[in-house]
């Protein structure tokens, strides 16, 4: 027994801890090296790249100062893309938040098939975008598409959807909602399920109706989750790429209507090979994301309720 205790003690001495440090380093090294090489180093390079005129393989690269940034800001397509990006986020964010909350309310609680539905609703989220966008293109088809049939059946005006400069971006948003809402719903549902029952029960006993309970009790308690969803939906919609590529046939059209900033960056870098110019635009996009996130964070102090 004695010797065992001694061995236990020696396993926890400073010298053992020093050895611990070396062992830990060996286990950490692969992950850390990969992150430094493929995330941190490129991020630093990206910040610098915009200040050069870069040529492939680095041959003949020259200092550019602010030229790339200045010409991006003078490029009318950059502003079109910025407008599209913001418009897209403006559609996506409120609809996603309200939709996720509503669905979570519907799917909360017991019921045999409700549990099954909770899982099923996640199905679109895991499907490959390029594949499921093919089905949706047919739904958006102006002549034979289901959406226009439905619109005229409901007595609503029909649109050209992916062929209309006005309706293409909302159509992309519609597809993205179908694809991604389940993800947001799961998060809202997890938050809803963790709410203390006692509070809403107390309100019920005090005679509050379901609407009052929802707006005065449930919603304030959910604000931290809503804030989280707000931030990730904003960032997610500023980064949307695959669905735009798939639905616009890799064009960002019609008439640049679905050319968002990330799409413009992709085209500038990988179709026209203006790498530094694209990097300058990427820095501007990141500044936009950062600015919006900080703004939302500042605003959140006014409406997020922490228990």
């Amino acid at each position: 027994m004695e010797s065992l205790a001694a061995r236990v003690r020696s396993a926890r001495t400073p010298r053992a801890r020093q050895k611990d440090g070396w062992r830990a380093a060996v286990f950490l090294a692969p992950a850390l090296l990969l992150l430094i090489l493929f995330v941190y180093a490129p991020a630093l390079l990206a910040l610098g790249l915009g200040f050069f005129h870069y040529h492939l393989l680095g041959i003949g690269t020259t200092w550019a100062g602010l030229t790339n940034f200045r010409s991006a800001l003078r490029y009318s397509l950059f502003w079109t893309a910025l407008r599209n990006t913001l418009l897209y986020a403006l559609i996506m964010v409120p609809v996603t938040l309200i939709g996720a909350l509503l669905l979570a309310q519907l799917l909360c609680g017991p019921g045999k098939y409700v549990g099954f539905l909770r899982t099923l609703i996640l199905l679109p989220y895991i499907t490959p975008v390029i594949a499921t966008a093919i089905g949706w293109l047919w739904i958006f088809n102006p002549q034979y598409g289901l959406l226009n049939s439905l619109m005229s059946w409901l007595g609503l005006p029909v649109h050209q959807w992916m062929q209309s400069p006005t309706w293409a971006l909302p159509a992309v948003a519609m597809y993205t909602l179908w694809h991604g809402l389940g993800f947001d719903m799961i998060i809202a549902l997890a938050a809803l399920a963790s709410l203390p029952k006692s509070v809403s029960e107390a309100a019920q006993i005090d005679g509050a109706g379901p609407a009052t309970i929802f707006f005065r009790v449930t919603l304030p308690l959910l604000t931290p989750t809503l804030f989280f969803l707000l931030v990730i939906t904003t960032i997610g919609s500023l980064q949307a790429f695959s669905q735009i590529y798939a639905l616009s046939g890799g064009q960002g059209g019609p008439e640049y209507a679905t050319t968002t900033l990330i799409f413009l960056i992709y085209q500038t870098a990988f179709q026209y090979y203006h790498f530094s110019y694209a990097a300058a635009m990427a820095v501007l996009l990141v500044l936009l994301i950062l600015g919006l996130t900080l703004f939302q964070n500042w605003l959140s102090k006014r409406w997020v309720f922490y228990q």
């Binding site: 065992l4 061995r7 236990v8 396993a11 926890r12 611990d20 440090g21 062992r23 286990f27 950490l28 692969p30 992950a31 850390l32 990969l34 992150l35 493929f38 995330v39 180093a41 490129p42 991020a43 390079l45 990206a46 492939l56 799917l107 539905l117 909770r118 899982t119 609703i121 996640l122 199905l123 679109p124 895991i126 499907t127 490959p128 975008v129 390029i130 594949a131 499921t132 093919i134 089905g135 047919w138 034979y144 598409g145 289901l146 179908w178 993800f183 997890a190 990730i232 980064q239 790429f241 590529y245 890799g250 990330i262 992709y266 870098a269 990988f270 990097a279 990427a282 996009l285 990141v286």
Partner: protein
């Protein structure tokens, strides 16, 4: 009475929602089985047909077998590497004491704040310099470490009793033996959750493989499907057939692993 009406509305809402959810998938399946003359008229589409030849033609029109092989290879290797690097790092962070631990952990977490669009251009240039474009490794190595993986597995490792670890050491077990025989079996749920998440992300990856591959040799299925679509063959029924057989493996995977997929989302909400 009021309660019953509310329940009724809830069910109506759920049924409408379910229809919206499943319709695009069923629609694609039906159009993949239509004769091409039929597909162009809307009401006819709802009557199922069985022109399985669309699948034969679509399958013959592009090297799908190659695409599938590439995707499975890339996704499997990426997942395996992520699990190895994450388990190692999680073990170090969760069970060891060493100087700079907090700073290093913060370094790992702050990766989440670096947006991908900032990185793709320098990453591409880096791999162009290395002559790695159009290879398998360019689609695997940059994604072989995952912050989400490290974070989630660390949570599990930290919840293990330290005595277990000390006891194994006192019994003279080496570090690798402890990791493999003591820690790993106890964090299997975390490993599965991370594995499922990474595998799905890799299967559905699009922007990066689109940029770094050209030609069929190492191209994954998603990029293959996109090029099949923009290629000369855009017969709708065949396109739908291709969409069906590229989605099918994910659906099967979802049915098997759905518990872990839901888990990975409600755990931290890291978006893919």
């Amino acid at each position: 009475m009021v309660e019953r009406r509310r329940q009724l509305w809830r069910h109506v809402g759920l049924i409408v929602g379910l229809a919206i959810l499943l319709f695009p998938l069923i629609w694609t399946l039906f159009s993949s089985l239509e004769s091409s003359s039929h597909a162009a008229s809307f009401p006819g589409s709802l009557i199922p047909q069985f022109h399985y030849q669309n699948y034969v033609h679509a399958w013959e029109a592009a090297p799908w077998g190659r695409y599938f092989f590439n995707t499975i290879l890339i996704a499997t290797l990426t997942t395996a590497l992520v699990l190895i690097t994450s388990l190692g790092a999680a073990y170090a962070f969760g069970m060891h004491e060493f100087p700079g631990k907090r700073v290093l952990f913060w370094l790992v977490l702050s990766v989440l704040m670096i947006p991908t669009e900032l990185n793709i251009i320098p990453q591409y240039l880096l791999f162009a310099d290395l002559h790695w474009l159009n290879t398998y490794q360019v689609q695997i190595i940059p994604w072989a470490a995952s912050t989400f993986g490290i974070f989630l597995i660390r949570q599990f490792v930290m919840s293990l009793p330290r005595d277990l670890f000390d006891a194994a050491r006192i019994d003279g077990a080496g570090e690798l033996a402890i990791l493999w025989h003591v820690v790993a079996p106890l964090v299997i749920p975390a490993l599965v959750t991370v594995g499922v998440y990474v595998f799905l992300g890799s299967y559905n990856a699009f922007l990066w493989p689109l940029i770094v591959t050209n030609g069929h040799a190492v191209r994954p299925i998603e990029v293959g499907l996109a090029s099949f679509r923009t290629g000369n063959n855009s017969e709708y029924t065949q396109l739908s057939a291709a969409a069906v057989f590229t989605t099918l493996p994910v659906l099967v995977f979802f049915l098997i692993a759905q518990r872990y997929i839901v888990e990975s989302i409600s755990r931290t909400g890291v978006r893919g």
